[in-house]
Subunit: 400 residues, 2 copies
Amino acid sequence: MERDAPVRPVQQHRHNLALVARLAARLGPVSRARLAHESGLTKSTVTQLTGELLDGGLLREIGTGRSGGPGRPANQLVLNSLGPAGIGLQIEADHVAGCLLDLTGRVRDRALRKADDLTGDPQRAVKAAEPVLRRLLNTANSTDNVVVGVAVGLPARVRDATVVHADGLGWADTNFPWLLGDRLSALGAGGIPVTVANSHQLAARAEHWFGGDEAEVLVHVGGEDGLGAGIVIAGEVHAGARGAAGELGHVRIPGADDPCTCGQRGCLDTVAGRRALLRAAGLDEVVRSRLTGGDGELPALVGSGEAVAVAAVRRAATALGTVLGGLVPALDPDVLVLGGHLPALGSDFLDAVDLSLRQRCPGAAVRVRASRLPADVVARAAATTVTSALIEAPADWLAE
Amino acid sequence: MERDAPVRPVQQHRHNLALVARLAARLGPVSRARLAHESGLTKSTVTQLTGELLDGGLLREIGTGRSGGPGRPANQLVLNSLGPAGIGLQIEADHVAGCLLDLTGRVRDRALRKADDLTGDPQRAVKAAEPVLRRLLNTANSTDNVVVGVAVGLPARVRDATVVHADGLGWADTNFPWLLGDRLSALGAGGIPVTVANSHQLAARAEHWFGGDEAEVLVHVGGEDGLGAGIVIAGEVHAGARGAAGELGHVRIPGADDPCTCGQRGCLDTVAGRRALLRAAGLDEVVRSRLTGGDGELPALVGSGEAVAVAAVRRAATALGTVLGGLVPALDPDVLVLGGHLPALGSDFLDAVDLSLRQRCPGAAVRVRASRLPADVVARAAATTVTSALIEAPADWLAE
DNA sequence: TTCAATAGTCCAGTAGACGAACTAATTGCC
DNA sequence: GGCAATTAGTTCGTCTACTGGACTATTGAA
């Protein structure tokens, strides 16, 4: 409910619609009676509201389910897996991943497009996204899903739906939603709203939604090339005053002096970034070949005790732990999740980060753990922003 | 509006009441017509709502004011400076400060009680607060103000209205509101609700409210003895998962090794804390005499180029800047305010902190400035939490 | 078969915002 | 002075959407 807007009966209705939709999403198959009980609304109102949600295709009635005692059995309601759905894209310098998500949160389809180099002209990314979108739109068509939104996760600073600055992609002030919307029209899917979001922030959202921590404050650190953090506070991403919150990659590390893409020297990215780390461990050719699978070689080297690799990883862990150790006392998070390319570095790396972090701030009560989510979390989280927006504001959808 | 609660006409009314009260507070003397325009409510509704606020003593009608053109002149409404008011206390190891604030935000009275040592038994603080409270209650009585709440700012971690841990005071798991409420009853002011809050967080609130920055994200760093930060995001304090957000005093500084009260060595407090700094500058006797005014001697020494003092202050600035430089890229604040004893260290100190911060994170767009607020901001901010709670939820007050 | 229990619908009642019509008070023009 | 224009504020009937109790529906158990 907007704080500075008047509340009329309509807003009241909107709020209660959202409340019921949210509860239906949370409780899975659920009866109107239970919804009434959990929401605090009366049965009559819930009948009315669920009726609207059913008509709008957000809910579906599955026959009377259990019969665990006397009394009329309930007509169970669930989110409609056939109705509205969302597409999420993840764009990185070397690939575009995408997925189609229905309202229940199930991934209906995935798609991946590898590419040589998507940096420079944003149209390259649009072009690489096209086959991914085409496939997902086709799938949606065949599964009776209606795509109501496309959300894109990018390693970029985003402000007012515009990419203000993307280090790793070389973009600046790009209205990417507009570019992609154009391509969507060409695919016969014009008018679908496109949103963009920072991929670190989406990854943090993903950990909050799917990580199972029930955290009040969660910090996710990771990234494909550049390192970055996403901060979730009370279920909301903290984007910062300019959308730049979590940009840790260019914090200077004492003792480091390698040149960074940003023009400075000794940035965290030059010590703990994926490419920098592979290079420092003597895996230059892996970097050049751009093989994501090559990440596996580094933990293998470390496991076999290869001195250069061990030193590089230890150095990265110490630097990262120190930076995070400055963050933790400021934010007091429940959980600090290491994601992106970091979990692949092995549990020794995780332990070393933890150690270094606690050396910086001894009393910290934070739990540090590796992410357990798959590589395409960002695409999934992006798609989830579409579906959860529907559930959080069903009235907007019903109005159409 | 509670997210998980149903909205009925009553909640609708509560919301709109708060909306009108907030606007009246923001716009100063304001007509019903303007309130209707600004709020988006109709004139009829505003008449109804302001009527309730007038009856409840939250608003007051001052005669028809301006007559800048044709048309019936407006009956101006203002917050009632005579009705409900709040008391704010600030408790530190060596003093208790307090103030009485009316709804308009005007300080009706102040009181200060110096004390030798309030650490150890919380009852000492209660005892020192008694004369302060007595005076402020008397003042309220004579100015026709009704004290509706007492809010206390403490250098302590607070959780569920309980002091979980107070480093500088030596308290743990203390239900301070209960203790102080007891004393209030003895003063004939029983039943007044008492709340507690962390003083760093209150200081940040104060900068956000009174600092004039219009910041979306604001960080305040300061403290009397221990250093700490308060973070305000979108008008709300970020307290962290355990209420420990902003506890920067015990971040370890590379190269520092002095023992800290926390049992560790090399904490930020041992480098940039007030006492540590005075000691390092050779002003031991000032520390022992507990003279707050003694702070003036340090900038004087620095100004005169006294080598030890200059070195101590520079070291403190570097350490603090480095710690803050780790924070800024994570949070992306608009403004970083240095408060507490820090502004007294002079503008060279401020510049040195700024320099060190930007050395750590070169691209930061944050504005760094010294606090311009007086020493008793925390008491004022505490009192403001009482009065602003009234304005944010007038229905609760009107119900009584 | 009947009763208890639970699910769900129906409908009159009600709180509270809206809007049009009204009254009120002032300026400015004749 | 009188009257139109203009803005402030109130009154009252209307409308929306939630409530609560009466009602129907469907099951298990006695």
